[in-house]
Symmetry: D2
Subunit: 345 residues, 4 copies
């Protein structure tokens, strides 16, 4: 198959290219870029010298649906809103890595993203691509709103116990940390090495755009879910997300029971690895891979439950999950092209 990547010059695009090099069912990636048209892709990404000799093509929706079997949008906010309607409904699945189509309510989108929402038709058609939790709908989908990086780690961590109604929906506190590649390739003081090295910062407190996304999905599981507390921090590392989540249980449950729920829930999900009670995953343990590792601790002294979830923000947090959804849509083995072992050290 041939797949197309729009916005190939961003980190998400580069990661898709890396994954597809190994994908058993994809022979070619066609790369589209507005800014880079006509340029050699390995000019942007010299690590791909001799691996790919592609030239970036202009974004022509009509041509794209003709020459590809699936399209990935690894574009900045606002682009998918514009392009999806032109690509939709022509038999070519569209997987959008941006946030444009994730938020059901347009007003909510605009309040948080401070830009015009996509049109309702696109949003309605878009299926939320949290692979492990939405397989059935993804299978039938033609448009996928690929989840945000933080929501992926958060929702996979909370799903087993929230769906079992074990977690007190009035108190969900999320302290999230990410590596810098999550900010993309644009240069700014905020991604400057000398400003970030040997530095730890909190950058969004209760105002991150991923907040409504997290709440929207939590409310699909439990409509009573209160607004969450969600803060994000920047770690001086390239890849990785850890979400440390503080919750309360609704009733007395032993840690053995919790373990049983969590492991059972992900029994058939190759990519989600639940650790033993008190064993916590590190971001490096999933580096460069599509795994999401989860650990937890039930504290007798307070009754609170701390859940720790780690992913690689470019893989399970973006490109990896996008390919996982592509595999589901195309009826392929869900792990196709995604079985790379984490890079260690």
């Amino acid at each position: 198959m041939k797949i197309g990547i729009i916005g190939a010059t961003g980190y998400g695009g580069a990661e898709l290219v890396r994954i597809f090099k190994y994908h058993p069912h994809v022979d070619e990636c066609i790369l589209y870029s507005s800014s880079g048209e006509g340029q050699s892709y390995s000019q942007s990404y010299p690590h791909l010298t001799t691996i790919t000799d592609q030239t970036l093509k202009a974004i022509d929706p009509a041509a794209i649906v003709q020459e590809t079997d699936a399209v990935f949008l690894a574009t900045p906010a606002g682009v998918s809103s514009e392009l999806t309607p032109k690509l939709m409904n022509q038999g070519v699945p569209i997987i959008d890595l941006s946030g444009d189509l994730r938020i059901q309510d347009g007003a909510t989108y605009e309040a948080w993203y401070k830009r015009r929402a996509a049109d309702e038709a696109s949003v309605q058609q878009a299926v939320y691509g949290l692979s492990e939790l939405n397989r059935d709908k993804i299978q039938q989908a033609e448009v996928i709103a690929n989840p945000g990086c933080f929501p992926t780690a958060v929702l996979l961590g909370l799903a087993p116990l929230m769906k079992q109604n074990l977690i007190d929906e009035s108190m969900i506190i999320i302290d999230a940390k990410t590596g810098v590649s999550g900010a993309g390739r644009s240069a700014s003081l905020g991604t400057h090495f000398s400003e970030l090295n040997d530095n730890f910062k909190i950058y969004k407190v209760n105002e991150h755009q991923h907040t409504p996304e997290i709440e929207q999905i939590l409310r699909e599981w439990n409509p009573q879910t209160a607004n969450v507390t969600f803060s994000t921090h920047l770690v001086p590392m390239t890849r990785g997300i850890m979400a440390t989540m503080y919750t309360q249980l609704k009733s007395d449950v032993t840690k053995e029971e919790l373990m049983k729920q969590m492991k059972g829930f992900y029994e058939d999900s190759y990519f989600v690895r639940v650790r033993e009670h008190g064993v916590y995953p590190q971001t490096k343990e999933v580096y460069g891979s599509n795994f999401c590792d989860i650990g937890f601790h039930l504290d007798e002294r307070t009754g609170r439950l701390t859940i720790v979830s780690v992913i690689d923000n470019l893989m399970k947090g973006a490109a990896g999950q996008a390919v996982q959804n592509f595999n589901i849509i195309k009826g392929l083995h869900e792990e196709a092209g995604l079985t790379m072992t984490p890079l260690y050290p």
Copy 2:
């Protein structure tokens, strides 16, 4: 004056040496070490070549109280318990950077530290050295239990509003992050560069030894304080601590009122800098200095108050605060030797 540093070869000891080089009232540091006796100090710390030509001396309590005007213990757990009784009550103030004398209740100490507690006499005499909050007692003290690094950041962040009884004492959730120097100079897999670089890990969830210390002080302010939730994370950086604290307010207070309380509380405390609402400090902004910077956010959507506190773990989290306490005891200007500007970048 002459001061003595026992355990000079650890990072805390090295930081004390750095501070005292600039201290207007101290002419000499005498360095004591059990493991390093007879060695040249700059052999351990080549950055001090030509700056100091000291030889490490054996730990002889009788000699130490003779030849120094104050003694700092920058020693591992268990050493101060043994040495303090031999140094005490001879007119020479003792400032202990370890946790040996901080916990009032011996059984609590033993439960958390998994070792025998110091004798009651030492613990009773030891005054908790959180400078900004305990000046009066410190002034009269002969033995100082210098606070732990995390507790310093946490307690300075919570003090203004907890002491005003504005914070709901039943819910205090602390998500703390530290640079690696907090683990000391011992080599282990847990401090190995190849294991930590580009990695983020959570290492203690609800079991850090600083938990009883935090709770003990919070209960001095509000005896009703429930057990806290406290997790610690390791950041791939050398210095710095950020404590992100999640709390609930007891009643409706505006952010302007909170700001007034917080700034007012630290009006006369040179080292604590409270930021404007929504402006958050970064660990690099206090790097190598004795400052503690605090920011906060009152969230309308949830009513929760997030407080962010940063320090340099070796300075305000250890050596800097120790010298600040020394200054108070000796009736010196509190900032003597501690006015170094943070290193940036």
Copy 3:
């Protein structure tokens, strides 16, 4: 096929495990360790949780040659000297990642490694495993002395022009830099995060054990080669080697000619990528991959030629090259299992 890895708990061993997960012709890695016998491998390396459920087996040479089709020694210095004689000549190829069998002359080995050399029989039989330069001999070999990380980068960089006798053999100056994983997984002050972070150090000046190895091979190409100047530096990064080499040309050659030589020499070597004149590779561009990228600059102002060669020390500098040699010995496609795209960012 089944392959055995002795010394599986080191970084070289872990990297072999990662590569073989993707190798089309290897179904199983059997892992042997003296220190870790009986332990679960994923206990040492949690990133492999659910990926492998191997238990480490004791090192029993007789059993090993029975149950494997090839053996890799990813062991510290001195172990291969002892084991290879017991594994040799039983039809099972042995690939030694250590330096034990690389140096032809026992006295030279002992002078530089400060330990007893392997017996002559093993050393004689061992073929130097610089894949691109020694394919024919490797094909016939039963014992491979896998090259050191620095020598790999250095020799691949120098080979085209030295073999053409274009380089003045009296002046070869090598300034090499490496990431910390090259030092292995043992904890010491020299690999301590707080000591290495934000630090750059030179650690061996004209005394690195790779010096005789480099000189031995250079003299195979040109017996007149003088002793080289070789210094090694430690970079605060996990993986990567850059060798910056300063040479003089014997006669006037244009940079176009040099480019022609270099590109021509590696025409059929998939893993060696020669860049355009004045375009220099970065270590990140080969991260996690088996590539060796080379750049160079001919300076008109001095007549000197600077050659820059980069590799990933764990891949092309160790495990990757070992598997490449394995592929050659077994008559497989040389790139089998080694086509992973570099990880970027």
Copy 4:
């Protein structure tokens, strides 16, 4: 005294502010900026919150010479060329941290810097500010061309032996490495954290603008000095420079003799610390300080001499040396304000 800093918003400017906070003879820094006029300085540099409440002033040469006792230009290339003539000859010493006034020959400057050279009058009047080597001229100077960071490390390393004519001037090979702060505060792909972290790159081979500066000074000592080979590398760290220099001796000299020369040469220079033969300095050992540490190795196997020199690029490589020159000009103690101990770890 009051000093003025033009271009205060760059890292060089911020470092001058940090130094002057501790300077016994300077009470005030007045900060000038073209881009930041009217802004609060701590807006650019929050680490200075409460430490300075300065507002940046416009660059008005007439006002500047009125209200300051010395002026520092911490400006990008080209600004000093324009401003110095307007500030000169009015009794106020000018210390230029840029390269504008360092190169005696205008044509050379233009060839390497690719911009118009400063006018001859300014260049003639400018004294090269390599403090330890040019004290007498600096004392009488009114305009100082503060040396580049790399040249400082290189020239201090080579001076003792070159001035004794012990080094073969036909072969000087310099392999230099720097932390990222040397590139300044501007954001670009070249200073982007995700591009630089865990990466090592060579960025200028035989074309760095510091080449003519190094050659100009070397030729003051030995007019026969051939063109040097000079390459620069970027290390994933914030501060620090190491220059590893490869040279040949003109005659047989023992390492003891070399040590004697080197130590003797810097006997009265507090900031230059020469190490024992075979003991090499690390960049962290001078971090945040004005020291330059030097080590060397005389190789019997090749007769070559490797000299290693480290500095902090923002201190001895820029602001620290600028203040050292200021002290010399004003007849103050040369170390005033510069005795801060290196920050470790």
